[in-house]
Amino acid sequence: MLEIKELKAEIEGKKILNGINLVVKPGEVHAIMGPNGAGKSTLSSVLAGRADYEVTGGTVSFNGKDLLDMAPEDRAREGVFLAFQYPVEIPGVSTTNFLKTAINEKRKYLGLEPMEATDFLKFMREKMELMEMDKALTSRSLNEGFSGGEKKRNEVFQMAMLEPQLSIMDETDSGLDIDALRLVSTGVNKLKDGKRSFVVITHYQRLLDYIVPDFVHVLYKGRIVKSGDANLAKELEVKGYDWIKEEVEAGA
């Protein structure tokens, strides 16, 4: 589904990604971990198409298409979803209206008719129940005045609504207390259907207690320096990142 080869990217002349290789197959959950400044958030931004970053090398293919060649909105319409670390507020625009626009833009791209208002509301109600979302949140302005936990839950709710094939979660756990973390993780787990894939970016192992990854990759200095299964995350939790850094320095 997703195939990243030798991906290199920089921002304002500063090299951040130095050759990332990653293959994500349908239904897989990949965790990307690493110390601060390793390039985790850059990777998610580059995949989503944020303009601040310049891709200087490598390829990314998504379902056989060249992802890097697409505008950010087309990547989204093709089925790439990014759960933001810091979701933005859009005053005066309700989550309902926002999602209706998003879904219909995607449908237009796919050559489908816009969704009927009643169908949309029914669909939304179902997803709200599934995600245990508070009704009041969807009629309020998008993310405006939401708590940190509410914002992150709203990201996962949007994920449920847009039904992406690939969800990239950028430090979704940051700033969440344990209850919010559990709610968010439960939501994500409900979306797993054996076909959808997830790339979970996190600094800490604790999120991975709830969203259990098939693969764990350690990102350091813009490269994946170690890969393993869920046990690798546990090992990192105990030993920290220093031993990996040492391994890398020794190898280099």
Binding site: A48, G49, A71, E73, L82, F84, I90, T101, A102, E105
Partner: protein, 481 residues
Amino acid sequence: MAEEVDIIDQVVGQEYKYGFTTNIEMDTAPMGLTEDTIRFISAKKNEPEWMLEYRLKAYKYWLTLPDPNWQNFHYPPINYQDIIFYAAPKEKIKLDSLDQVDPELLKTFEKLGISLTEQKRLTGVAVDAVFDSVSIATTFKDQLKEKGVIFCSMSEAIHEHPELVKKYLSSVVPHTDNFFAALNSAVFSDGSFVYIPKGVRCPMELSTYFRINAENTGQFERTLIIADEGAYVSYLEGCTAPMRDENQLHAAVVELVALDNAEIKYSTVQNWYPGDKEGKGGIYNFVTKRGICLGDHAKISWTQVETGSAITWKYPSCILKGDYSVGEFFSVAVTNNMQQADTGTKMIHIGKHTKSRIVSKGISAGKSHNTYRGLVKVNKKAEKARNYTQCDSMLIGDRSGAHTFPYIEINNKSAMVEHEASTSKIGEDQIFYCNQRGIGTEEAIGLIVNGFCREVLNQLPMEFAVEAQKLLAVSLEGSVG
């Protein structure tokens, strides 16, 4: 960066949708303005002597006035001898029968989305269509008549309802009010007249559609709306003009009178041609709009969505004379490219327990400048007057400007006046967030701007709120970069 430039290139080519011209033979006044011009206009309209006298009085006063210069924008001096002050389609039109209206004209209004023919009319909205200097047709007249509502062109009202016109014309905006009001009083051609009798709730929305077509022509319409005791009316005006390289002047006067317990809701969706992206051409929209709550518990509410015109210069205002009367002003002003706007309101509290509310949303994109200017004045005897003002500006890109000039004059200690203001910038982050959900950049800006204006758009009648939303998105196309 390259991508952003692409977006600009793609959309600046976007044409002003209403920029076409209608080829029709016109009857025009000789170019320029003299006493003869005024006599010509008055004679064309077959006006009574008192009307001509009023015009001449206004003209003489206008001659004594210097051009105003206090505004927060620049425009080259207007040569009033280069303007045609009266232009009307040549064919003699009988207002009662649409069959006799030139099909070219009907087609023009069809193109603008305003159907004057019976079968296609917007249900629930009566329309008066004004083409250059004259009213072409007024729909639903008979249905309105049953309720005693008068909705006709100003020219017709001067003949049919002289007592009402004499009593109220110039009573809210006297000819001495300002430079452009004096000019309008001298040369006004047509416009709408509305009278809602005592206790009548007007059964449908009333609407006037203004279209400038002729070249070198100014449009000077005059609108007068009177809501008698306990009456209610909702009125909406829309405007467009062809694309031309020279600037055209639109100097209208609108007067509203609300008696005891009456309510007038006046909405404007203004989309005059804004000029091209270098600032060439476009309409100068210099308009005086004012309402008076003459009676107790009267209410006047202005809602405006201003997206067009090279320059917009207007302050729809309320004089709150009756005790417990209420004035409201809801405004969205959008400027893009080289457009300029200096707009706002005046709330004059005279009666006791009068209340006013101002919500202004200014959006500046391109190299445009957008000014809010507002006055809240509480007179000595206006016990317990209250005002709430909220004034928000949004900037798109980094070459536009937003300015705010609030004036507050309080002469009564019991007054409560609140003013809140904010300025924000449409963020790359907000746009990217929308992009990431599959919403393209242009749509994203439309969405964000509409959200910003939500409070004001909610005030518009349903049929027009949707149009206004689309208009906002269209007028900001190509504003990213």
